[in-house]
Amino acid sequence: MLALAALVACATASPGPTASTAGAPLPLEKAATQAAPQPSGFITAYRRLTESQYRNAIADTFGAGVRINARFEPERREEGLQAVGAARLSITTSGLEQYYAVARSVADQVVDGRDRDAAIGCKPEGLDQAARDCVERFIARRGLQLFRRPLSADETARFLSAWQASARGYGDFHKALKLTLVDMLMSPDFLFRVERAEADPQRPSDLRLDGYTKAARLSYMLWNAGPDEALLEAARTGAIHSPARLASEVDRLLASPRFEDGVRAFFTDMLEFEAFENLSKDAATYPKFSQAVADSAREETLRFLVHHLVKAAGDYRDVFTSRDTFIDRTLAYVYDVPYLSSQRWAPYTFPEASERSGLLTQATFLSLFAHPGRSSPTIRGVRLNEIFLCVQIPQPPPDVDFSKVQAVESGTVRTRLLEHMTNPGCTSCHQISDPVGLSLERFDGIGQHRLMENAAPIDVSVQMGASSFSGAQGLGRYLHDSSLVPSCLVRKVHAYGVGRTFDPADADYLKRQGEAFAAGGYRLPALMRGVLTDPQFYRVVTPQGLAPNLQVASLPSGGNPILGAAR
């Protein structure tokens, strides 16, 4: 049951449709056809759907059985997040060709599938008025799901008229409907998350994000998916603008099993896991590495984070010190530990002597931030600073002579990096990046433990400013106690939700969220709840270069302080 599967995701009491109800109004359809207001105000952002969001949208609308076999356009990362970069991206011709191929494949599967009557919602004979009504209901219901808002009358009419033209050409209801569905899937309103602002009726001189935009902000942050039926309903009625209802919706989404999807998506972005798609290791140096290891490593870290941060509601800072994790047989081989479970995955606690210490000693971080044939303290140090501390380390000067640094045939990397640390042109950055990287040197380029390099023992003691520590566990404790670690997470959670780069106007609000995060014991769900229920999260940033008539028309008389300058 495609439609049933799609609606199961919606946590409401509405019963799902069955084959026998085909033709009767469906719950979503009711919302879609009732008082669908024209989109008002103006557009504040177009944020391209990520690949996982696209996949979730199709699964939520047509069921998880619809297969998507495609190569999506590369994402873009800004300030450490693809969610921010997505607001800068458009779609190139080659990218749109891929979307077109996917749209056609999805339409074929939906309209030719076994459950097509349920997916379509009605079963007309011929191409008469009943067929037209059926298509109109289909457009309204699926449009609401795909566009994350009701379609305007114009939009519905446009899709309907395209269907009529196709139906005349084919003389076939279903073939024409496929083309209509392709049209919807090719629309910018589906491929981009469109954020809109409108005048705030409570405070006529202010702007606010419209209800559907708020609903989508909630659901993408917490579920990495479009809003469900209840959220759309809260947007339609305007209830979502009430702080109490907003908070109860946030709580509902946090309590759902789908929150795990949201947490996985957030960390997949923050930890740059898309790089696993193209990760390669030299087979002669690392014979144990394979795509299976890469896939398992990724899963290990996500399981670990979901378990620790969501299921156990643990302290975020402990992800840098915990020796508890999950492994499978593939990873046991890399970590060189026994695997005794008969299950596919099993919890595992590394012994103290393993020197493992949380996230940074998992195969993900250690293999992603290394060369194909060796580790790299500098890369690890730079990336650790950027990802977990929000500290940007500048590019090296273009004319550095590396010859002395990288004679890899002898000694340990520490002796070679001393050149960086003493050369005045290099030292200011390498003093930040190298110590943390050197403390991880007992783990090679895929995360295997080692004590020697080129027959010399690896020294992992480091000095960071006033503090000194030793090895990965020392680094873990250092990060655990660093005030930058939680404040960086707060900043990333916010940026991930709003999809824009840091704005000083948000500084006080972020500080406030950081204090609440600390006071609550550094719990991620509470942080997300705090961010999502704060009005500042929904602050309207008026785009540059908006047409003057829109600036005036979208507001009641009296004007607006933000727009005043533009007029």
């Binding site: 356009e73 800068r88 458009s90 011709t93 083309l179 910018p188 060369h371 010859s403 990288q406 047409a547």
Partner: protein
């Protein structure tokens, strides 16, 4: 909406004189004689492409040069790193001594070089160009006369190219031979020499259905700010391209005498080692040449290896990129021996591509003669990320517009002059290119058969 069946003829009428080979009257090579056009009198189409490789070629202060010819002008001598196309060097011009001028901006390593070449000036930040890459202007000028307006491919496994219309969203490259094959010869390919060709009604319906999406354009553009307007514009341009591809499939393709559908390559993982990249660039070069001969595209961007190439030699711990920085120049030779070997390997791939292009006959010319390929790198001396003396090659005579086979010494001139020259040779209506210190209206007239221009 444009009428379904008239697009190609319209484009020909509007642009033919400016974009196709024999339409330009003052050409001195192809003016007379046979073989200047296909049997039915239709003009031969000009092709344009970029061929990019990272990490430059070898030219060191102590060891002298491994690529810059001594002789200036025509008849330059074979140099070690350019020896792979020694027999074709009368069809290739070599440009040395040109540079990207920083204009006070930092040298963003492995970005400022090619971003500066493609967009016409030094970029302010990583992975952002200050405007469109110039290949898109050529694609626009050549118009819709092939199935794809442009194709992008990377032999090194990554999916990004450096082709952009707005400076931030980049085309997606086909990153394996099988992906390139499927794009060129998979679904939607129409054999231009099929005698039983008939238009497919299904495609006509699919094309007209898409117009429902296109109709929203004006309404949406009116509701957005400047940045989103640019994004939407790019989206609708892409949508128009997809429509155009369908429109092209509704027209009987022009016969292409040289078009032979190649064999399907094997499925392979994206290439990462030097050996794999060498193998995949060879296969992709062959597929691309045939894709051009079969008129599937007229503009392409081929990335052999990206800027900071992570290619590595199997069994060695260093990447090519780190070798360029780490390798101590050989005391006796005065240059980095391994770097020169690796650079020569890349030039061998380029040479193979030129030979593939030159083996395909069109009239009494070759596909290479009917093309202009601008090959360039991101750095001069890679060890120090030099933006001076970035190697650039122009291959193919651009249907006679390019006076090939010369060595031009730039002596510090802005490299934007070469990009401007390429655009003019390819028929783009561009009189000036670049910005800041790189702005120029002076193409390299020595290599232009249209001597008076510029």
């Amino acid at each position: 909406m444009t009428h379904l069946f008239s697009r190609r003829s319209l484009m020909r009428g509007a642009l033919g004189g400016a974009t196709v080979c024999v339409g330009v009257p003052m050409l001195d090579l192809f003016l007379d004689g046979n073989g200047q056009a296909l049997a039915d009198g239709k003009p031969l189409p000009l092709r344009f492409g970029t061929y990019f490789w990272g990490l430059g070629l070898t030219d060191t202060p102590q060891g002298g040069t491994r690529w810059v010819p001594t002789k200036i002008g025509s008849g330059y001598e074979v140099t070690p790193e350019l020896s792979s196309f020694a027999d074709l060097r009368h069809k290739v011009s070599v440009f040395s001594g040109f540079r990207v001028i920083g204009d006070g901006k930092p040298n963003i390593v492995h970005w400022s070089g090619h971003a500066g070449i493609l967009a016409g000036g030094a970029p302010a930040s990583d992975r952002v160009m200050e405007g469109p890459s110039f290949d898109t202007k050529i694609a626009d000028a050549l118009g819709v006369t092939s199935r794809f307006k442009q194709l992008d491919m990377s032999a090194s496994g990554g999916s990004t190219t450096y082709s952009t219309r707005n400076g931030s969203t980049y085309s997606t490259a086909e990153s394996t031979p099988i992906a390139l094959y499927t794009r060129l010869f998979g679904e939607g390919f129409q054999d231009p020499n099929d005698p039983n060709w008939a238009p497919n009604q299904e495609i006509m319906l699919r094309k007209s259905a898409l117009s429902a999406v296109m109709e929203q354009r004006q309404a949406l553009l009116a509701q957005v700010g400047a940045a989103d307007r640019a994004k939407l514009d790019q989206y609708f341009t892409s949508l128009r391209e997809v429509e155009n591809q369908l429109a092209m499939q509704l027209e009987r393709p022009d016969p292409c005498e040289a078009c032979v559908i190649p064999e399907k390559p094997e499925e392979t993982r994206p290439a990462m080692t030097v050996d794999q990249i060498t193998a995949s660039s060879r296969t992709m070069a062959r597929l691309l040449a045939m894709g051009l001969a079969c008129n599937q595209t007229r503009v392409f961007n081929f990335v052999h290896t990206p800027g900071a190439s992570t290619a590595y030699i199997a069994g060695e711990t260093k990447t090519y990129h780190s070798i360029t920085h780490d390798e101590v120049p050989d005391a006796r030779l005065g240059y980095q021996r391994k770097c020169s070997e690796l650079a020569s390997l890349i030039m061998e791939s380029f040479g193979q591509f030129l030979h593939e292009m030159d083996a395909i006959k069109e009239g009494d010319r070759t596909l290479l003669d009917n093309s202009l390929i601008m090959a360039f790198s991101d750095t001069g001396f890679a060890k120090i990320h030099a933006l001076e003396n970035i190697p650039v090659l122009f291959a193919g005579s651009a249907c006679g517009r390019h006076k090939a086979g010369q060595h031009i010494a730039g002596r510090g001139e802005p490299i934007s002059r070469l990009a401007l020259t390429a655009q003019q040779l390819a028929g783009a209506p561009v009189g000036e290119f670049g910005f800041g210190a790189m702005r120029t209206a002076r193409p390299i007239s020595e290599v232009m058969a249209l001597g008076e221009r510029g």
